[in-house]
């Protein structure tokens, strides 16, 4: 199978290894990633039910040193999570984390200290039914995709309700289970309008500006986009979750490139294989990019059998140097592309 390699972003490396959940390096269903000014990388581990008591944030660096981890486990108490989705730093350097089951935002320091939480369940202004994507602009305005209320809400960093826009539907300014959200350097807001298979762009006041994409698997089309991010010169990156790929658009929304994934062995993966020679020997003679039989010829099934490809790219992130991080929930790893 030919791997598409026409990247304006070039593949740099893979970080990660599947983790059974309970501690130490590796990831368990990673769902979100952010990088702070110290170049520490924070990964949110959502964890499957069998390992959910180990819900946590793991911290490491680009050199693959696993530094520390924090969290207060699974549940509804302060600092706990049930279905955490996304993270963002606020202007104070605090880590804001959404939870689509607990219907709240939880805030930790980067050292792992639980600070506070805000949000309640409901449909009124200032309430949530499934907060998912989160983004903070340079003035400290927090934007949250309130998915089952099919709207975007604006808050202060301390959780004071500022405003909202959107309703259920497929017209402009309407949403269908919105997921990822980001703010560009001009304070425009981009929303991954998940079940409408499109990206919508607004100004910070919620005025509609433009749309990218429609349903499909061709270039410039999406199946359930989960995340969007914009680099320093306005290029738009979209995690095209249902097509198991990342698509890249220029600042006017024209398609320029797509990434399907090209994972290699992380340092942690190499360590594992070194101590498990039976797996290494048989792996070395295997074809991990096989041709796929017709009845399994869907992006999901292809990715389930093709180890280098993205599988479950739930979120993406661009750091200060415009390096792209693709978070793969089903493969427990991060693929990193360099600008």
């Amino acid at each position: 199978m030919t791997i598409i390699k026409k990247n304006s972003s070039s593949y740099l490396k893979t970080i990660g290894i599947a983790n059974n959940g309970f501690n130490g390096r590796g990831f368990q269903n990673p769902y979100s990633i952010v990088v702070n000014h110290d170049k520490k990388i924070f990964v949110l581990n959502r964890c499957d039910p069998a390992r959910r008591t180990a819900i946590r944030i793991g911290v490491f660096n680009l050199e693959e040193d696993y530094l520390y981890e924090f969290g207060q486990g699974y549940g509804t108490e302060n600092g706990q999570f049930v279905w955490p989705v996304a993270m963002a730093f606020d202007t104070q350097g605090r880590l804001l984390i959404t939870d689509e089951h607990n219907n709240r935002v939880t805030i930790f320091s980067t050292e792992g200290e639980y600070l506070t939480k805000w949000g309640t369940t409901g449909t009124k202004s200032g309430q949530f039914d499934g907060p998912s994507g989160i983004a903070v602009d340079h003035e400290g305005v927090v934007y949250i995709s309130d998915q089952r209320n099919h709207r975007i809400q604006k808050y202060s960093e301390d959780g004071d309700f500022i405003g909202q826009w959107g309703s259920f539907g497929a017209n402009k300014n309407q949403f269908n289970y919105p997921w990822g959200i980001c703010v560009d350097i001009d304070a425009n807001v981009f929303v991954a309008d998940w079940r409408n298979d499109r990206i919508q762009k607004f100004n910070g006041d919620g005025e509609y500006l433009s749309t990218i994409g429609c349903s499909g698997d061709a270039q410039g089309q999406f199946i359930r986009p989960s995340a969007v991010s914009v680099d320093s010169i306005g290029n738009i990156y979209v995690a095209d979750w249902g097509n198991e790929r990342v698509q890249i658009f220029d600042n006017t929304g024209n398609f320029t490139d797509e990434l399907r994934g090209e994972a290699t062995l992380s340092k942690w993966a190499e360590d594992f294989l070194e101590s498990n020679p039976d797996e290494k020997e048989t792996r070395d003679i295997s074809d991990l990019t096989p041709d796929i039989p017709d009845h399994l010829n869907t992006p999901y099934h292809i990715s389930s059998q093709t180890e280098p490809f993205f599988w479950g790219p739930v979120s993406i992130y661009l750091d200060a140097d415009d390096n792209l991080y693709v978070v793969e929930s089903n493969r427990h790893r991060i693929q990193i592309y360099q600008k």
Binding site: G16, I17, A18, N20, N29, Y31, R46, C47, D48, P49, A50, V82, W83, E100, H101, Y177, W179, W194, R195, I223, R224, G242, A263, L265, S266, W268, A269, F272, L273, N276, D278, E279, T282, R283, I285, S286, D287, L288, P290, I292, P293, H295, L296, Y300, H301, S304, Q305, E307, W311, G312, S329, N330, R331, H332, R333
Partner: protein, 473 residues
Amino acid sequence: MDTNANDMSIMAHLMRRAGFTATRMELEAYISDGYESTVEKLLFPGEPENMPDDMIRRYHVDQSEMRQIEGAGAYWLYRMITTKNPLEEKIALFWHGLFATGYAKLNQARVLLNQIDMFRRFGLGSFKTMLIELSKDPAMIIWLDNNDNHKGAINENYGRELLELFSMGIGNYSENDVKECARAFTGWTLKNAEYMAVRAGKDSIWPYGRIAWQYQYREEDHDNGIKTFLGRTGNFNGQDIVGMIVEEIATARFLSTRLFQYFAADEITDDSELIISSMMDSYFESQYQVSAMLRTLFNSDYFKSEKCMYARIKGPVESVVGTARLAGSYRKPTLDVHKLWFQTFFMGQGLLAPPTVEGWHEGTEWIDSGALVERINFAANEFGDVNKPGVKYIIDRLSRQYNGSIKPESLVDGCLDLIGPIKVEDLTRESLIEFVSSYNDTSLLIGDINSIGAKCVAQTLGLIASTREYQLA
């Protein structure tokens, strides 16, 4: 019983067998289509309609990755609970019991679900095609060691079970047939077989989670020598072997009997022998089509008769799914849905985890004191919640019918009707009436689900679920 009630009773019976029970609204829609038309729609359902995969995968990371059994089992249960094509799932469950393949040896949930999907695609079609697809199925290849079946060094495990458990039955072939069958299936393996076998053996998830499997034919490992099978001689490959198997009367009888016991009655009687014989005729006349065999069964007078009604004990999966469908639970992504899989396991039928290649022992063996308590507790919890959409619907329907005072007898009869209809013994009905009579006020008011009467309805439904008749299909 008047004509309408009889129609309802027969349609409910059909949907308990060809599906997982149906709600009153579904039954009314089926009756409006007519019995034989409904049978045809069940047999040829068209595109699957159930909870969409994207909704499941967005919330349940375990059901996106399919790393472990409980997530995979929950995914299948979601499909069974929300499908509008119930026979598609019911026949997949039939084949899962017959071609029992388990997670314990595979450590691979994704490929098990791929096998289940294969059962959906071919389950109502040609038995010949089904056996060929089964022989190519990666989960089956590892489960019965055909990856270790090599030219010059056969492993007869798959060849033996293909004849003994999957088609003809013991006594209809020789030991030499087993060996020759195994030779014909040499080279039928999976891609990257060595690596995948090592990972399966160690339950390795490293470095990056499971890698799904796919079939591969290795010509260089296939025994191209002359073989003699069931009295015929030639350079047979696996497809040729299957072609000869499906022509056997023993195969027709085996499959007809298994289908009869799954869809009609646990016990074989003189009456059932006649139907089985008709199903065998349909098998040959249709070139081995399962749909033709089931059409013969479902449209027979025997199937619609009192003899066939309540002649099967519901399996645990039928019980869990049927109760969830009636209660209206799990219609959207629900936290802890994986616990449903544990329910099937505690009741003795862990989906994707059959105890052996022989599958589950069915009929009366489903019921022991522990499993029965699990069934009753599960159903009581489901029906006891007045906020469940299905329970709310029954309360609402009774409220609209009576709007105000309702006699205990009417409340019991209404519940028995709307949860089925189910016909219980007189003594059971009297006990239910006695229970309802213990309530001071059973009035039902339209739109009020929090009244004592509404709670009485929910409790009564839970009690009905503990009756012998509810546990029968």
